[in-house]
């Protein structure tokens, strides 16, 4: 680590002297750089990087045709469709209703508002398997909601059920992304719009929504990414039916389970996992770029 903080430019060159003048000077009086960085890197390596590398290493032992046939089996294709389709649908539902919920919490006063505000985080606090079994009990054909659903709409053991579970899981992401931006929105912009004769609806669409857009998109993307990997809340309500409601994590778990009884090797599960990891990393990258932009927007106030 060559540029240890605020270490005075030892070679005395103008460029590095200028550099250290630009940067806030952090004196070297603060100890523990080597210890904490070393510990951080070691722990990160052992706990996170080695396992993730193991997945890619295993995948690299497959030939291209092996890899391709694993990731494009009809069952896998069906699972991609369910996983991506339901995550997308759930994230869209959350974008719409999460925006409304955030708006109501920030802008209106009503009885029970602070309870509602606290409740938003329930999907983070409630173990996913508990959410899953609760949704299962609700939407069973004889459950509270399963009983009263109109005949044409089936939620239990259908992709709609998967979407319901992913909506539950994704809701806080949208609300908690939009909320702070909405709260920090300067009032004078709205007042200016109103004083210039804009109707309220016009102000909402032309002035407020454009400000919320990046946060809404970030919340949507977070909810979508979380939905792709989600497992515990989905499996009970979906009944894990192959070619119907099976999601990608279902396939991976089942492959590992049949590996345990010696029925197959882990090549197929690993190949599918690599596809998912790559998708997740691309999403993560896009989110980081978006959040950087978001940061600029919110500081502007």
């Amino acid at each position: 680590m060559t540029t240890e903080p605020g270490r005075p430019a030892q070679d005395g060159r103008v460029a590095s002297a200028a550099l250290s003048a630009v940067r806030p000077r952090r004196a070297r009086v603060i100890p523990g750089f080597g210890l904490t960085l070393g510990y951080t890197m070691t722990y990160l390596g052992i706990v996170v990087m080695i396992p993730i590398a193991a997945v890619f290493l295993k995948a690299s032992t497959l030939t291209w045709p092996q890899f391709w046939s694993a990731v494009s089996s009809p069952r896998a294709i069906s699972a991609y469709k369910v996983s991506f389709g339901c995550s997308l649908a759930a994230a869209l539902i959350n974008a719409v209703f999460g925006l409304i919920v955030a708006w109501v919490i920030v802008r209106y006063r009503f009885w029970g508002r602070s309870v509602v505000d606290a409740l938003i985080d329930l999907p983070f606090a409630l173990p996913t398997a508990v959410a899953g079994i609760a949704l299962y009990a609700l939407y069973l054909p004889e459950g509270w909601l399963g009983r009263i659903l109109p005949p044409g709409i089936k939620v239990f053991a259908t992709p709609l059920g998967v979407t319901v579970a992913l909506t539950f899981i994704g809701l806080p992401f949208v609300v908690r992304m939009v909320e702070p931006v909405l709260r920090d929105l300067p009032a004078d912009v709205e007042e200016a719009a109103a004083s210039l004769g804009a109707r309220r609806w016009h102000t909402l669409r032309m002035v407020i929504l454009p400000e919320l857009w990046p946060a809404l998109l970030a919340g949507f993307a977070l909810a979508f990414a979380r939905g792709l990997g989600e497992f515990g809340s989905v499996i009970f309500i979906s009944r894990q039916r192959p070619m119907e409601t099976e999601i990608i994590p279902d396939i991976i778990r089942e492959q590992v389970a049949s590996h345990y009884i010696g029925a197959r090797n882990l090549a197929e599960a690993t190949a599918i996992a690599v596809v998912m990891l790559v998708v997740s990393f691309v999403l993560l990258l896009a989110l980081n770029l978006l959040q950087r932009r978001l940061g600029r927007r919110t500081v502007r106030v």
Binding site: F33, T36, V101, P127, I133
Partner: protein, 293 residues
């Protein structure tokens, strides 16, 4: 419900008509009731549907006792490990400048974007029968199907929680106070315990809370590693086992109600901690980093 009104001044043109306000509040409350409140209520209702005796029978079973013990061991190991890591990572990232710093921050958040099931698969790839040591681990130091695997899975999943609460706060706090302490003659550890730790107390507790909640409830990664072995189950896995074994969902929901209870406590503690935190922490203008585990 009392009359809803805007928080800000009610200048005409800067708020919605009353009808729209009521409609939006109604939509929001209905949506939350349907998706959040109803699932929470149904757990306790169905858990007690067969009477209090049937409920207690599930809670008293030795299998549930074992599952609770396994869960507590996983939490008891994963949370302290990730607290130490979180403090170390936040220290080197926020008190110093070095190349690759922002990459490191991104890498720490990586476990959030890995599906828990894939995390479990990764451990099987290392320690399983096809693993790195051939079948050495399976024969000599079993990780899969046993406690070490479940602990490792939990550690992976809860890895970023403490660090991500501390980093934005310590970044905003800067190094002036630590420098002052050092100049006045405090040692390194003394500076850490007397200056830094009190400054980040609430954020640390907040991270510990989120980390614990997630460790208690972790399902996908642990499920893959535990492999459905009888007697090798955390509480969430035991809920699933009950659901598969019995035709009647009551026992599974009774076991789930214990976890739901911890969820409610987490929510209350989170609200309280958030409030305490807000009182003392002066964050940057854009502060309040979105907390989305």
């Amino acid at each position: 419900m009392s009359a809803p009104g805007p928080i800000r001044r009610a200048t005409p043109g800067t708020t919605e008509p009353a009808v729209a306000r009521y409609a939006l509040i109604a939509i929001a409350l209905l949506f939350l009731a349907l998706f959040l409140v109803l699932p929470l209520v149904v757990i306790f209702y169905e858990a007690l549907a067969k009477g209090f005796k049937a409920y207690l029978e599930v809670l008293r079973s030795p299998e549930l006792g074992t599952a609770v013990r396994t869960t507590l061991i996983c939490v008891g190991i994963a949370v302290p490990l990730n607290v130490v890591f979180g403090l170390a990572a936040a220290w080197c990232i926020t008190k110093f400048r070095f190349p690759g710093r922002s990459v490191l921050v991104t890498l720490i958040e990586l476990p959030f974007s890995v599906s828990p099931v894939i995390a479990g698969l990764a451990l099987v790839l290392i320690f399983g029968a096809e693993g790195w040591g051939g079948s050495w681990f399976v024969d000599h130091a079993p990780v899969i199907f046993s406690m070490p695997g479940m602990v490792l899975a939990t550690v992976f999943i809860t890895f970023p929680f403490v660090a991500r609460e501390l980093i934005p706060l310590m970044e905003a706090q800067g190094t002036e106070e630590e420098q002052a302490a050092r100049v006045l003659g405090a040692g390194g550890w003394q500076t850490f315990f007397r200056v830094t730790l009190p400054n980040v107390k609430w954020a640390l507790l907040y991270g510990v809370l989120l980390c614990t909640a997630r460790a208690l409830g972790e399902f996908g990664a642990v499920a893959v590693v535990a492999g459905g072995q009888v007697g090798q189950a955390t509480l969430p896995l035991y809920v699933e086992q009950l659901y598969h074994e019995r035709t009647n969902p009551q026992p599974a929901l009774a076991a789930a109600s214990l976890l739901a209870f911890t969820g409610i406590i987490t929510l209350l503690a989170k609200t309280w901690l958030g409030r305490e935190r807000g009182k003392v922490e002066k964050l940057t203008p854009d502060g309040d980093p979105a907390r989305a585990p």
